[in-house]
Structure formats: structure tokens, C-alpha cells
Amino acid sequence: MIPAPFAYRRAGSVDEALSLLAEHGDEAKVLAGGHSLLPLMKLRLAVPEVVVDVGRLQDLSYVRDEGDAIAVGALTRHRDLETSDLLAREAPLLSHAAGFVGDPQVRHRGTLGGSLVHGDPASDLPAVVLAMGGTLVARGPRGSREIPAADFFQSLFETAMEPDELLTEVRIPKPQSRGWGFEKFNQRAIDWATVGVAVSGDQRPAIALVNMGGTPLRATAAEQALADGGSVADAAALAADGTEPPSDLSASADYRRHLARVLVRRAVEDARGRA
């Protein structure tokens, strides 16, 4: 792999990372697990002048019980989400889904923060955090701010993050109901989702879709139908309403819409089965 030339800076603390970002602005890119950024750099689709490596900021790697919510550090690796007892108990949708990200190598390197900030609608965890009503905490020169997941994902690879900000934490409210469901449809175990579905709750669940548009999306028509007491099958039939899924090598838009309907039905049935 031979990317274009770049300067490499390793941050020893969050403050140092922030000051490096402040110094280099648009020219800098944060490097966390590197499993989204480096493939782009390898193909020279991303050519940052400065790479600020935050991968060793251990103090941003944690899963903590904060009463009503679980706080997860932005540098927490997928593997740590997958194996966290606390998450398995209090937010099983997140740990379960983390176990389906890529392959073991990817899960040992990739981070929750990187997954979210990258803004790839094909990624699994953004939809999970959206379904669970998570809040993202960003720190910048102007201090900290909290951004609800619903406002965070703006368009393809675009999020609410500013170039001089660092995502530090993700707060997941503890779910009110026990039900949850997760469906990831892919060709091979290591592939991104062709379509994915994250369901949080059971009777009136939140349903988020993976790879059905430029950002992770809520299947609002299906949610509404369930909230109104409609059958799972009838609600699932509305799963693709209002979406504009991409057509690419792995699937046409029509096929994606069809998959969304099947997968939402299965995921909601699962959620109700668990409740």
C-alpha cells in the first residue's frame, strides 16, 4: 500500500490531538483504527497532508455504566464492544451488532468513533446508535458539545463533526424495553451489509436501516404502523417507504427495498420474541 506522502503526528493526549487539529485544520485527518481511512489513502482517494493518530489514547477506550445511560469511549474497539458484559446486559443490540462488523482483524482495530465519524451508510454501528437514540459527544477548541445521533449523519460521508473536533464519547440511553433485533444481509461474512436493520424495542420499536440511502435511516412508516398497532407483516411492507437506496454491483435499488422489507419483518419478529 503506497499512499500519497503525508506527515504523521501521534497525539499523546486528547488536548494534544485537539491542538494538532487546530493547527492543521482541513489538511489534517484523525486516524483511529485506520480501517476506513487507510483503504481510502491507499487508493489515493483520501490525500490528507497530516495524519493525527489518536489510536493510543487509552483513556478514550471504555464502556461505563452511568445510571440511565451507558457511556462508550470513542476509541473503543469493535471487539471490546462485542465482548463487553455491561453492554451484553444493558445494551445487547450494540454488542451483538459489533460482532458482525467485518472480520476479527477489522474488529480488533476499528473503533466505534471511527465508524460513526466516517459516515458510511453501509456501516453497521451508525444505524445501531441511531435506533438506540444515542448522543455523540464532540470536543473542539470551543469545548464540548452533544449531538443527537438523529442530527449527526448529514449525507454520504458527511457528519456534523467539524474538522477541528474530536469525537470523544457516545452515550446510549438504557433501553426501556427488552426487545431488540439485528439483521445484516451480506454476501460473505466479511462484507459490509447489502442492507441491514437494527431494531431497538419491541412493541413500539425504533427501526434503523443500513445502506438504504446516504445516511443511516429510520424506517418511520414502519415504526408508525407498529405504534398504531399494525401487524408486523403490514408494517414491514412499509420498511422501504421514503428511502432512496443506491444501485451498485452488489444490489439494485429495487432489490435493496425488497431486502429491507424482509429484514425488518424478521428483525421485529426477533425483537418481539426476545421481549
Partner: protein
């Protein structure tokens, strides 16, 4: 007791699994000290006239030693192959026209590898776009010609010139199907790589090359570079896979040697994975039309296959070799009275085609095995039964096919029965019936494939072997065959050990160095053991004969009374084991007289024909189209087995590769000739997670054609498994009205096929 046939663990593995292999890029030869690095500038367009190449900026970039275009380097073009018009010859670097995305137009030489990647971006090539020819139909129509001087895009035609319109006259049932045997990328773990160093006076050059055949590469490169015989030494260090795509020397290698000569500096070249996917040759890419006809009682009377072989932008041997192999093997394991074959090879603005594991035979098997299933389903008969009724009978061997070739030996029905029994065929049928009845979203499908293939198709070319006993009693085996993962070091040492009675750890196997082994063919076409192994065996037998003579002299006895105690590895006079001589002593005795050694050049009278039956079981989610391969049962009869560890390894890899073609892999181009699957993120190779454990059943039917009784096993797994998996997918959804699903049977395709059937 003979060690042949026993499970000897691979001699190669301790090194490969601990310190690792030494591949071209790992070499630290003194001759390569100070080597510069080559990076190729590749065409981003499929078809264009080159109006200018400006290398000025690149020359001035950091670390750049030189930039060469095709006009700067004196390299003879690669002739396409005998039988193909010379107007389609390929220059090492494109000078006037580029004909596919990835074709090399210039080479940048830099002190460091990474500098090359930056400098290559600065080479400014002006491309005047020409219309791209991508589909077979466009190529045949010939509105745009890749080589206007040739006057056509058809590089080669073979088989029947005129189709027989009465071929199916006697048939009660005739079925036709158009089949796409899709283009695949070989994607070996080690990408293409080479390193090159000239002697100071430039009289001699050494090329370290990741290749399947050092001697063939030497001959081809000597011609292209205008060298005398003996000037070029080619060395193949460890080679990380080839699958057919490393048989020949690619144009980049010639350019590397020429540039190194110009600069008087050693050079290294390792391509990137993205380059490998579009610039290493591809495989398969056959468009087939098959027609099968017969009686309602299951007898097949006639079969026709018409092949359109995509050769990519520049025809090579494969342009005629692949379709010829397909035509030769057209009728497979069946005794079909009338068989007609016809083939055309065309050029398109895509990556050139070459051999890929099976090379023409998987395409033949895929066609006939799909056809048998289509015929079975048309007459409403069990596919196993239809196959059984048409097999070549065991007493019919040697059997001459309508295509004119002679199968050596086979037991096709026995292979089928063994597989059906082990698989529990009736239970599978019952389970399928139950799931259909209850409308289970997970439907069960099972697919059969009965195959016969041709190994060592170039039997007459033969292979060389030399066995040398050293003064210390150790043995060196030289083979013209070339290991790149197969396990030659294990198998060939076993063969020598078995004859000589010298333990394997005292036997070294050398290959892939033209200085030490001037004559050899290499490894391809599943030929190594039957030709190279037989050569080693024969040389070993000869060494034993010479040793017996020497022992008789030393022990002052009659040759007839001399005994080789193979357990002890010593020679003595019958009845007097106390006075024995060792191999080392005999070798010392022979020292003045050329040493204790023997050469063999072994060729077979005819090729051999391994066969087998594969059964795949899949689950198809009829709501999403997703396919899951849940069981795989196979018999692969490749004659005598020298070491089951090795044959099972070959079967494993082969089956996985075939399943990958059936379900996942596809090298896709858009209408403008842009590759859409140019890296491993988009090109869906298969992983262990997609595969069940394979149930490999033993069966051995010896061939009379070589002293070991062995046939080839390297490609059989791929040949058998591809249609078995494809047939299983179709079988799972036939009750929904689906007749055929092209490969790869992706979820979307399966879903679409179910929908189409519903709408009909």
C-alpha cells in the same frame, strides 16, 4: 513397507509456518544490492490511441532514475501463438494504442518503491479515446476492430465449420441453454514479482521470477530480449500461488530486464494488489450455447456446444488452448453417440485471458453437467439416474470419445454410488420434499456433477528428473517441475526415498533454477506427479541399478546376489547383512566416474483422465435469494495416491475455488471497459466462513500410462465442484419454475430468477 500412499506430513510446512517462505520480494542476494524499483504506468482507458507521452515531470520527481516508454526499450513483441494472426502481436509496453485498462505504457525506475508510485502519476499520457469493445456480440459484429490490420476481432476458430442441422433428428426431447462461464481473476496470494541483475559485462543476466515454469520463462524472455541461449538464468524462489496465470513470462518482466540492461543496475518489481487484479491475466470468460437431446427413457443421443471464448485484448496460447480443451472434454463422462463442437475466440478491450485452474476443462464440465440437469428436469427423471444411464461403462476403457481423444481408465458409476451413499441421497430427497411441502423459506437443493478431465494434456512434452547421491549418503533430486504450493518437496522425496531406502530428511528436492535444471516444463495442467514424479521415480530406479553394480564390485559378488536393505538403507550380499556398504560409500566409489546419479526425461504416451463425482447441498432463502453451501461430498479419483495429505489439500482448495465461481466471483466490466471489481473489496473471493467441511471420499483407479499409476489432482476439485454447486442452487428452486441461474449465483440473481419464474 512402502511409504507411498501414507499420510506423510508436508516437508515444506515447518519452514513456511515458522520463519516463512522467501518470495522474490524477500530476496537479499548480493547481486541485488542497490537495486532500483520499477513501477508501471498503466492505461486508465480501455481503448485509445496514444497521441503523446510526456515523461518530463516524472523524470524530475524525487528519486527517479529513469522513465522508459515502449520506444525506448528494444523488446520483440510477444507473438500471439501459432494459429493466431501475427497482426494481433502484443508489444511489451503499448506505444500507439492501448487496448485495456491496466495495459502498461511506461515504466518508472526509482531508488525507492514508494517514489515510483508518486512519479508514475506524473507521466502525462494523451489518450485519444476509441470506442471500447466489451461484449462478445460487439466483438463479433466487428464495427470497431482492436487490430484493424487483422480485419476482424475473431482471433481463432475451431471445431465444426458448419453445424449439422440433423444432429438432433432422432431425439424425442431437445433442450438448449445459453450459459455464461464468467470471467475470473486468479488473485494468487503473492502478486507478480521479479528481480533482475546483469553481470558487469552484460553477458549474463539473472532473473528471479515468481513463475510456474522457470525454463519456459527463460526461453520466451531470451527471444524477446534478443539474447543467446544460455545468457539468461531464471530462478523461481518460493512462489505464492499461480493457478495458471504465472505459466508464462508477462510483458512487464521483459521490460524489467531491458530497463535493467539499459541502466546497468539491478531492478526489482512487485506489483500492487490493484494492479494484479487488472493486469495479471484472467480466466474462464466463455460464452456457451449448449444443446442436448435424447429419449424420454433418459438416453442422451446428441450434444452440441458452441463456445465463444473471450481472449481479452491480446490473444495468447489460451485463445485456442482453452476452447480446444473445452471441445475435447465436451461429452464428459457420457457415451453420447453424436457430439458436435464449435468455437471462436475473440478479442475485446479487457484484460487478456489465460489458463486458470482447470483451463478449459471446468468450462466443459460446467456446460455438460448443466445440460444433463436440464435434460433430466425436462423428462422428469432424477439427475443421478440420468447420469448413470449414460456413463461410459467400466469395460469400455480405453474409450475413444467422439471428440477423438482416448480416456485411459474410469469407474464412473462406482464413483456416483459412493457419493450418493455417503451423502444419504434418499434422505436429502425426502428432506427437500418436506421443506417444499411446508413452504419453508429455507429450501434445500442438491446438485451433482460427474466429471472426467484431462491431465498432462501435453504428455509428449514430458518432464525431467535427476537423482544424485552424495558422498555423505544424502540425496539431491532435481525436477523440471516447479512447486508453488503443491508439495513437490514432500511427494518427490517420498518417491526417491521409497526406491533408495534413504530417509526423506536426507533428500533435498530442487526445482525452478535454469542453471541447475536447464531442461524442464514446469507445473500446470495437473502434470507434476505423473510426469515429473515418474521421472524422479525412473531416475531413482536407475540409480539403484547403478548402485547395485557398484556394490557388486565393492563386495566382490555377483550383481544378482546383491541386496538393498531399504529399511537400513544399506547394501549387502544375500545372507550376509553383517558386511554392508552404505550409499555414501557407493557414491564415493563412483566419484571418478560422473558420480552416483541418473537422469530421466519422462513422457507419457497419452494424457490421463481423472474423474469423480461431486455432490453439493445448499440452502436457499427464497425470500432473499441467499444461498448457503451446507454440505459437500466428493470422490476424486486421480489414480494411485502417493500421499493423501497432498491430494486432500489439492481437493480442498479446488473445491473452494469452484464453489467461489459458482456463488461469488466475477470480474465485471462496465460498457466502457472499466473494471468494476478491481480490488479485493469488490471482487468476492470465498472465505472459510462461506464453506462447510468437505466430506472427501477415497477412490483409486490406477492408470496404465505411467509407472506410478497416478493421474493429476491439482485442478479436479475446481472442475467438479463448480457445476455441482450451481446445479444445487437451481435444484433448490426448480419447484418454483426456475430452470437456470448463471454463475455467480448471487442472492440478487437467485431472487430475480424466482421473481421471473413467478411472472411467467
Amino acid at each position: 513397507m512402502s511409504i507411498l500412499g501414507t499420510r506423510v506430513v508436508r516437508a515444506e510446512d515447518p519452514r513456511l509456518l515458522t520463519v516463512g517462505g522467501t518470495y522474490v520480494d524477500d530476496l537479499r542476494e548480493p547481486a541485488l544490492v542497490g537495486a532500483a524499483h520499477a513501477t508501471f504506468v498503466r492505461s486508465p482507458v480501455a481503448h485509445a490511441r496514444i497521441s503523446s507521452i510526456d515523461v518530463q515531470d516524472a523524470r524530475e520527481a524525487p528519486g527517479v532514475v529513469a522513465v522508459f516508454t515502449g520506444r525506448d526499450l528494444d523488446i520483440s513483441p510477444s507473438p500471439p501463438a501459432p494459429m493466431v494472426t501475427a497482426a494481433m502481436a502484443r508489444p511489451a509496453l503499448a506505444t500507439d494504442v492501448v487496448r485495456y485498462v491496466g495495459e502498461a505504457v511506461a515504466v518508472v525506475i526509482t531508488d525507492e518503491r514508494y517514489q515510483g508510485e508518486d512519479a508514475a502519476e506524473l507521466v502525462m499520457v494523451d489518450y485519444d479515446p476509441l470506442p471500447a469493445v466489451v461484449s462478445g456480440e460487439d466483438a463479433v459484429r466487428g464495427e470497431t476492430l482492436l487490430f484493424p490490420e487483422a480485419g476482424t476481432n475473431v482471433a481463432w476458430t475451431g471445431g465444426a465449420e458448419q453445424l449439422d442441422e440433423h444432429l438432433f433428428d432422432d431425439c424425442e426431447v431437445v433442450v438448449t441453454q445459453v450459459i455464461d462461464n464468467q470471467r475470473l481473476a486468479p488473485a494468487p496470494l503473492e502478486v507478480r514479482s521479479a528481480a533482475c541483475a546483469w553481470s558487469d559485462d552484460q553477458g549474463q543476466v539473472t532473473l528471479w521470477l515468481s513463475t510456474q515454469g522457470a525454463q519456459a520463462a527463460r526461453d520466451e524472455l531470451q527471444r524477446q530480449l534478443g539474447l543467446e541461449e544460455g545468457q539468461l538464468r531464471v530462478v523461481a524462489p518460493d512462489v505464492g500461488g499461480g493457478f495458471g496465470a504465472k505459466i508464462a513470462a508477462d510483458p512487464e518482466t521483459a521490460a524489467l530486464c531491458a530497463a535493467s540492461r539499459r541502466l546497468g543496475r539491478p531492478l526489482r518489481w512487485v506489483e500492487s494488489r490493484s494492479e494484479n487484479m487488472i493486469a495479471m491475466t484472467h480466466g474462464r470468460a466463455q460464452h456457451q450455447t449448449v444443446t442436448i437431446g435424447g429419449r424420454r427413457d433418459g438416453t442422451v443421443l446428441a450434444y452440441r456446444i458452441e463456445v465463444l471464448q473471450d481472449s481479452g485484448a491480446y490473444p495468447r496460447e489460451s485463445s485456442w488452448l482453452l476452447p480446444i480443451l473445452t471441445m475435447n472434454m465436451a461429452s464428459g463422462v457420457y457415451a453420447i453417440p453424436k457430439v458436435e463442437t464449435a468455437a471462436r475466440s475473440i478479442v475485446t478491450n479487457t484484460t487478456p485471458l489465460s489458463a486458470y485452474r482447470g483451463a478449459g476443462r471446468p468450462e466443459a464440465t460446467a456446460a455438460i453437467e448443466r445440460a444433463m440437469d436440464l435434460f433430466a428436469s425436462e423428462i422428469g427423471m432424477d439427475p443421478a439416474e440420468v447420469r448413470r444411464r449414460n456413463f461410459v461403462a467400466p469395460d469400455a476403457f480405453p474409450f475413444q470419445t467422439p471428440s477423438g481423444i482416448t480416456y485411459d481408465s474410469g469407474e464412473y458409476a462406482k464413483a456416483l454410488d459412493t457419493v450418493l451413499e455417503a451423502a444419504g441421497y434418499p434422505d436429502l430427497q425426502e428432506e427437500q420434499r418436506r421443506r417444499r411441502e411446508r413452504g419453508d423459506p429455507l429450501q434445500l437443493g442438491f446438485g451433482l456433477s460427474a466429471y472426467v478431465e484431462i491431465t498432462a494434456p501435453d504428455n509428449a512434452v514430458g518432464e525431467t528428473g535427476r537423482v544424485e547421491v552424495g558422498a555423505d549418503g544424502s540425496v539431491t533430486v532435481y525436477t523440471g517441475s516447479s512447486a508453488h504450493g503443491q508439495g513437490h518437496a514432500t511427494a518427490f522425496a517420498m518417491l526417491a526415498s521409497d526406491e533408495l531406502g534413504i530417509p526423506m530428511d536426507r533428500i533435498k528436492v530442487l526445482h525452478g533454477d535454469t542453471a541447475k535444471i536447464p531442461k524442464g516444463a514446469g507445473t500446470y495442467g495437473s502434470r507434476s506427479l505423473q510426469l515429473g514424479g515418474s521421472a524422479v521415480h525412473e531416475a531413482s530406479v536407475e540409480v539403484v541399478k547403478r548402485a547395485r553394480h557398484l556394490a557388486a564390485e565393492l563386495l566382490e559378488a555377483d550383481e544378482g546376489d546383491i541386496v538393498l536393505d531399504r529399511d537400513a538403507g544399506r547394501w549387502h550380499v544375500k545372507g550376509a547383512p553383517a558386511t554392508a556398504v552404505s550409499w555414501g560409500e557407493l557414491a564415493q566409489q563412483a566419484e571418478g566416474d560422473g558420480g552416483l546419479a541418473a537422469d530421466s526425461d519422462f513422457s507419457e504416451e497419452r494424457p490421463t483422465f481423472p474423474f469423480g463425482v461431486h455432490l453439493a447441498v445448499v440452502e436457499v432463502d427464497v425470500e432473499t435469494g441467499a444461498v448457503r453451501l451446507v454440505r459437500f461430498v466428493s470422490v476424486d479419483d486421480a489414480g494411485r495416491v502417493v500421499n493423501p495429505v497432498l491430494t486432500e489439500g489439492q481437493r480442498h482448495g479446488g473445491i473452494a475455488q469452484g464453489a467461489a465461481q459458482a456463488l461469488l466471483e466475477h470480474m465485471v466490466y462496465d460498457a466502457d471497459g472499466n473494471p468494476q471489481t478491481g480490488n479485493l473489496a469488490d471482487y468476492a473471493f470465498i472465505t472459510a466462513a462461506e464453506l462447510p467441511s468437505f466430506e472427501l471420499l477415497p477412490m483409486e483407479t490406477a492408470t496404465p500410462l505411467n509407472p506410478l499409476g497416478v493421474k493429476g489432482i491439482g485442478e479436479a476439485g475446481t472442475i467438479g465442484s463448480t457445476p455441482a454447486v450451481q446445479n444445487a442452487v437451481v435444484n433448490a428452486i426448480t419447484h418454483l419454475g426456475v430452470r437456470h441461474v448463471d454463475m455467480p449465483a448471487t442472492a440478487q440473481r437467485v431472487w430475480a430468477a424466482i421473481n421471473e419464474a413467478k411472472e411467467r
